[in-house]
């Protein structure tokens, strides 16, 4: 298979999260055609490909947001069930979606805690869903997270997300994913809308995640960023694997060629 074939240089680290033979169709569109993918703890795996190559679809499958038509999921080598976003959350997978998945009718602090709202202590006789929200705690958390990403124009964490600028929104989505306990963090073009300083911060965050032994998946079209943070690079093309490279053994030009034209041996490899 393409996948192993192109594993050159040092041996690949043991995969933390791995999928094999992922298929996904949308009506007549065959978005993923038997994709293999893996990421280890303590590494940043970049996922690159042309527009429409299937990167986001693969991400959503990994996050349980899309149900794969076919394929296998392994966590630390053990098969796992991944059919709802809940499954992913429970396995410790956090994700920044390309479309951000924010609720515009809620404010910044609510979005930052969405789905994992802190509740006040001492109401344990109630089911968790009905305990009082600790909204001040949420605000404090939001303030810290936003400050960390250096989004200085955001006046209030009580502003509705519907009124925020593109970059401010993206920062919130990132802060939500990295602020939650997890072992895998996936970021789908996280810096697309960010300014120079904010992009820097995100790259720092990614590096810090690697240091804290997270498995990080990083999708981007920006070769500079990819070569700055990634350890390995998986290239997708037309919903199929092209190859996986070790970053230190390759260069942007090679990747761009793989993305746009595939490998020369590709004809024999497409699933």
């Amino acid at each position: 298979m393409t996948f192993e074939n192109t594993m050159v240089g040092q041996a690949a680290p043991p995969a933390h999260l791995a999928v094999r033979g992922i298929q996904k169709r949308f009506g007549g569109v065959h978005a993923l055609r038997g994709v293999d993918f893996e990421v280890a703890r303590g590494e940043v795996m970049a996922l690159v490909g042309d527009n429409g190559a299937g990167k986001s679809t693969l991400m959503k499958v990994l996050a349980g947001a899309h149900l794969a038509d076919d394929g296998e999921f392994l966590l630390d080598g053990k098969p796992v069930e991944m059919s709802t976003p809940n499954d992913a959350t429970e396995l410790g997978i956090q994700i920044v979606y390309q479309d951000l998945a924010l609720c515009e009718n809620l404010d910044v602090s609510a979005n930052l805690s969405l789905g994992a709202e802190p509740v006040k202590p001492g109401w344990s006789f109630l089911p968790h869903l009905l305990r009082p929200l600790d909204d001040l705690e949420m605000e404090v958390k939001a303030k810290k997270a936003i400050d960390k990403l250096e989004v200085r124009t955001l006046q209030s964490v009580r502003a509705k997300v519907g009124g925020l600028s593109g970059g401010q929104r993206q920062a919130i989505a990132i802060a939500r994913a990295v602020g939650t306990e997890s072992s895998v963090v996936m970021l789908d073009e996280p810096t697309a809308a960010l300014g120079v300083a904010q992009t820097r911060q995100v790259l720092e965050v990614v590096k810090r995640l690697r240091e804290t032994n997270h498995a990080v998946v990083y999708i981007s079209h920006n070769m500079r960023d990819i070569f700055e943070v990634s350890d390995r690079i998986t290239v997708l093309r037309h919903g199929s694997n092209v190859a996986t490279y070790t970053t230190s053994d390759t260069n942007p030009d090679e990747i761009v060629v793989a993305m746009t034209r595939g490998l020369d041996t590709e004809n024999g490899n497409a699933a």
Partner: protein, 406 residues
């Protein structure tokens, strides 16, 4: 951090509208307009045109306010329930019919000797099941809520007729009748009102001080205090007005208590937060791991619960159960209308149960006020349409840059 330029009055006004408190502005404006019209303008016109010999502000008399509250109570109860599913972006056309089934069942049960309190509990349970059943179909089968609850409307209307073959039934059970009849002694009413005001003020001030401790941005003291004072004024005015006629009726206390509970759940628990999240962006909510289907079922169960309460309130107040008062009548559209007039969006993600109560008062005031005039049925309908429009337009017109009409 940024130098804040001075804000004009209009800026302040529109900024205020964005606060939690501001969501009440439109419907309060509408209510004020209608009350002003019936309570002051009409009597004045009557006086000047010589139709009346003295200024008779019957509409604003304590007695009529009492009537108005009681008349609007069933609409309000349903509207509060419907608000919950509207938050999700769903609709419930069967709420009134559910209330009807529950009321009919209640009537039959007490007639057959079941004690009133037990009958009420049974009926509430039935209402919850009826709502949840629809929720299951909507969430798990994926049929639009409009269609499921339209089918529910038909089915439950039939069920009600089945339970109530005579079309109506007297309800004499003292427990059931008591809900609308029992009055809280004047003094206790005042104590209750003051306690509520006190708690409200305490909660607000405590939150403000905690914000300070945590270094969070503060609400302006002006906003804070005007909120507390406005709340206190309303509570005190209501209690004293009702005492001036009779006293606080138990039914209203129950309605307010249930609404307070639901209001708290919708705004201050993870459950309520997920209602808003799903309404705002169901896909985002799903992706952050909210159990959207279960949520939907539970929301419909809440509508069923409120419908059952509405049925009990109705049976208690009307002293009887009739097909037309619930399933056959205009109750359904009035209840949804109340929620929407209260500012709850049919598209989900925006609204409040308190506003539903105010919306119900708007709708209730139209019928109440017009019935006090001697107009013909046709004129009453026409005038009520016009007043409703004007009342809601006031807010729309005073808003800078009007919306899309959604």
């Amino acid at each position: 951090m940024q130098p804040e330029a001075k804000m004009t009055f209009l800026d302040r006004f529109s900024a205020m509208r964005e606060t939690q408190f501001g969501a009440f502005v439109p419907v309060l404006l509408a209510l004020a307009a209608i009350w002003g019209y019936f309570g002051l303008v009409l009597p004045l016109i009557d006086l000047m045109s010589g139709e009346a010999d003295s200024f008779r502000a019957i509409f604003l008399s304590p007695r009529n306010i009492y009537n108005l509250f009681m008349q609007s109570a069933v609409i309000a109860t349903l509207a509060v329930g419907i608000t919950i599913v509207l938050l999700l972006g769903d609709i419930d056309l069967s709420a009134a019919a559910t209330a009807g089934v529950c009321a009919a069942l209640l009537g039959v049960l007490v007639l057959s000797g079941v004690p009133g309190w037990l009958a009420c509990i049974i009926v509430i349970f039935v209402g919850i099941v009826m709502g949840a059943a629809q929720g299951l179909l909507i969430a798990y089968v994926g049929i639009p809520s409009f269609v499921v609850t339209l089918a529910g409307l038909l089915g439950y209307q039939g069920l009600m007729q089945k339970i109530l073959p005579t079309g109506n039934l007297n309800v004499g059970d003292p427990f059931v009748r008591g809900i609308a009849r029992v009055l809280i002694p004047d003094l206790w009413g005042i104590v209750l009102g003051l306690a509520v005001v006190g708690m409200f003020a305490y909660a607000n001030l405590r939150k403000q001080s905690r914000r300070k401790t945590l270094g969070l941005e503060q609400d302006s003291p002006l906003a804070l205090w005007s909120q507390v004072i406005a709340f206190a004024a309303i509570v005190v005015a209501v209690v004293f007005t009702l005492n001036a006629y009779r006293s606080l009726p138990l039914l209203l206390v129950l309605l307010v208590a249930i609404t307070a509970l639901l209001g708290w759940i919708t705004t201050s628990t993870p459950y309520g937060r997920s209602l808003f999240a799903v309404g705002g962006n169901p896909e985002s909510a799903r992706r952050v791991g909210m159990k959207v289907k279960r949520l939907r079922v539970s929301a419909f169960a809440i509508v069923g619960f409120m419908a059952a309460i509405g049925g009990i309130f109705g049976a208690s107040r009307y002293g009887s159960v009739s097909y037309t008062a619930f399933a056959g009548g205009s109750l359904l559209l009035e209840a949804i209308g109340a929620a929407v007039i209260g500012g709850t969006s049919l598209f989900g993600g925006r609204g409040s149960v308190w506003n539903a109560i105010l919306g119900a008062l708007v709708i209730g005031s139209l019928g109440n006020g017009l019935d006090l005039t001697g107009a013909s049925a046709a004129d009453k309908l026409m005038v009520s349409g016009a007043i409703l429009l004007l009342a809601v337009a006031i807010d729309a017109l005073s808003r800078p840059g009007n919306g899309s009409g959604r």
